[in-house]
Symmetry: none
Subunit: 199 residues, 4 copies
DNA sequence: AATGAATGAGGATTCATTCAT
DNA sequence: GATGAATGAATCCTCATTCAT
């Protein structure tokens, strides 16, 4: 996995180097030669592991998504109270984004992959997030949360932490400014179905 | 302004062409030659209006921010009820993002501008959003919303609509799936300070 | 003439500006736009006075040669003693090269004009130097100088001062280092026919 | 060395090609593409050996200076009579300039290198000409030549042959016109200190 | 498997020249 | 005559990719 430094598989070494460069300089200004240097291999070696630049970018994208999913779902326990599960997931999202800013920074870089490729990646990601769908289903069944599609719940809930992490790394908010638990509660209010919430 | 097609100032024509390309293919694969073609001018002409590629990108970024601010604050009336003001702003954010997807898609492309440039742009944007800060201040004074920094309120509130618009344009959510007013309420729940909200 | 600042003929203004630029940055890095700015006219105006860049360069070359000839022959008096005439000419060469370094610096820049053009220019220059040929002829007739072709006498005599002026402007020799009269004598030794000179 | 055709080091191949082009067309009109073609390599290859065009020009300049020095000092024997040493050096200068006209023609092209670069190159050249300084010192000590600085002696002596070679290659003087030994004597008269020389 | 020199198409940028005003 | 915005060919340079070793 991208975040596991003990793995020395050369393919992963290259992807990790690509991630560092992507975060550092974006797509432009990251050349295959630079990547080779950063990864500590020769230029030609890259092509033993990846058909071409595009293939490398796509695989990196997928790898990031998988890594993200694994970190977010780490320690997930479907037997805990539902709201606790939600809190744990939020914590994980926040922790991951805070710890690995390069994944965040490179996110926008992928927005222009061909749409069909993007779709494929999202679908496989969604599969990795199966437990999340289960959680949302249960919450909806029990009338705990609003009857909104998963995608929208994700935006109201988890994506908030991604956005905050970006601001955090840009220095627009400091950790003193925010009590993560407080914000988790806030996002819960957004998705929770509480008759008393009605205005 | 970027969204006003009646303006024929050549500088703006070029920026608009750049926006279309940026949305269509991202930074890479958008060459100055392509831009010239898209804008209907010769390659050399670009350099009469912009010192170089970087200057063009930076000016585009600022133009987008300004345009965004103007659309969001359009029709803003500080004399309306506070919550209504919030609703209006949310509506505007959603409408703008839905109507001009290219602004959205190009957003991630700017993440790698030099940090100091990014900071400058954000600050000038924040100035344009003065009425928003006033609104938040009033709401906080009256105990209507949680005592969170503006930046976080923005994320919990408005950025939700930006994220949703992206998904909308990617086809991940359809307009049938979502009742915008419902989502506006949801984000209000996120930021609102309601003692009954306490869990 | 290039060195006469009272002439305000626009053609000459342009040529003088070209000379300044040529001396300052060589052929490369001197653009028609720069020239227009330096001359204080619009780019298009250059083409009212010169067919194209090449024509301008050629005319500049000729102008420099003519100016050089006029300065060198200034005050020439064919009735003075022959050796004194030689001394005067040397003095003039030195003075001119010292006073107008830009003419010197631009000299090497013309070495790559098409050979036929160069030839034409040299021939017309040689015509302007008629009095010099007369002087050499008289000296040779009287057995004062070696029976060498004019071209070689010029090299042994006058070109010495051109070379020294270049070194002077590069700071490789200072004026303290050199007594011009002494050097004039030295060059005279080079061309003089003195039986006692024989080794 | 630039004049040794047996060396096939690619860097030298490129420099030699650059020299041919420089002599043929001067700085302008010699493009990196042309150079690549002339050298028989791809355009990109140039940049494997030289950082950019400027670096190439600078290195060419130094290479020319070094080559010139080596040829001029070839066969130099400090044990010969001093005047004979001088004659040998003059012969070498003449021979070199006659044989490799491209080095001559490119000379003026370097006049616009940045002054500090020019200075560096001249200093390193001067080091290579150590034996020449020794010769001048000895001659001055023995009262054989005028008490002039080395730089001026060089101009009066050796540079004469450079200038003549230029005229020779331009067809302004033919070899029939000139007896090199005669001219060597003439330059010796210029620098020699002979009381009988006094006029 | 690994290398890295070589390639050459493609990018950003410049600049001589034109032409409508 | 004079302007200077517009042009687009040509320039320098980069970089993804290949291939002989």
């Amino acid at each position: 996995m991208l975040t596991d430094p003990s793995v020395t598989d050369k393919r992963l070494l290259i992807l990790r180097a690509a991630l560092r460069l992507l975060a550092g300089c974006g797509f432009h200004g990251f050349s295959m030669k630079q990547l080779a240097d950063e990864a500590g291999v020769a230029a030609g070696t890259l092509y033993l592991y990846f058909k071409d630049r595009d293939a490398l970018i796509r695989q990196l994208h997928q790898e990031i998504i998988q890594t993200f999913a694994q970190h977010v779902l780490a320690g997930h326990d479907p037997d805990k109270p539902l709201q606790q599960q939600y809190r744990d997931l939020c914590q994980n999202v926040w922790l991951f984004c805070k710890t690995y800013p390069e994944m965040l920074l490179s996110k926008g870089q992928f927005d222009h992959l061909p749409p069909d490729v993007l779709r494929d990646h999202f679908l496989s990601a969604w599969q990795a997030f199966g437990p999340l769908r289960v959680l949302f289903d249960k919450c909806r069944e029990q009338g705990m949360i609003k009857p909104l599609p998963d995608e929208i719940l994700v935006t109201l809930g988890f994506e908030t932490f991604i956005n905050l992490a970006r601001k955090y790394h840009l220095g627009l908010v400091s950790e003193q400014d925010m009590d993560v638990n407080e914000i988790i509660e806030a996002t819960w209010h957004a998705i929770a179905l509480d008759t008393r919430n009605r205005i």
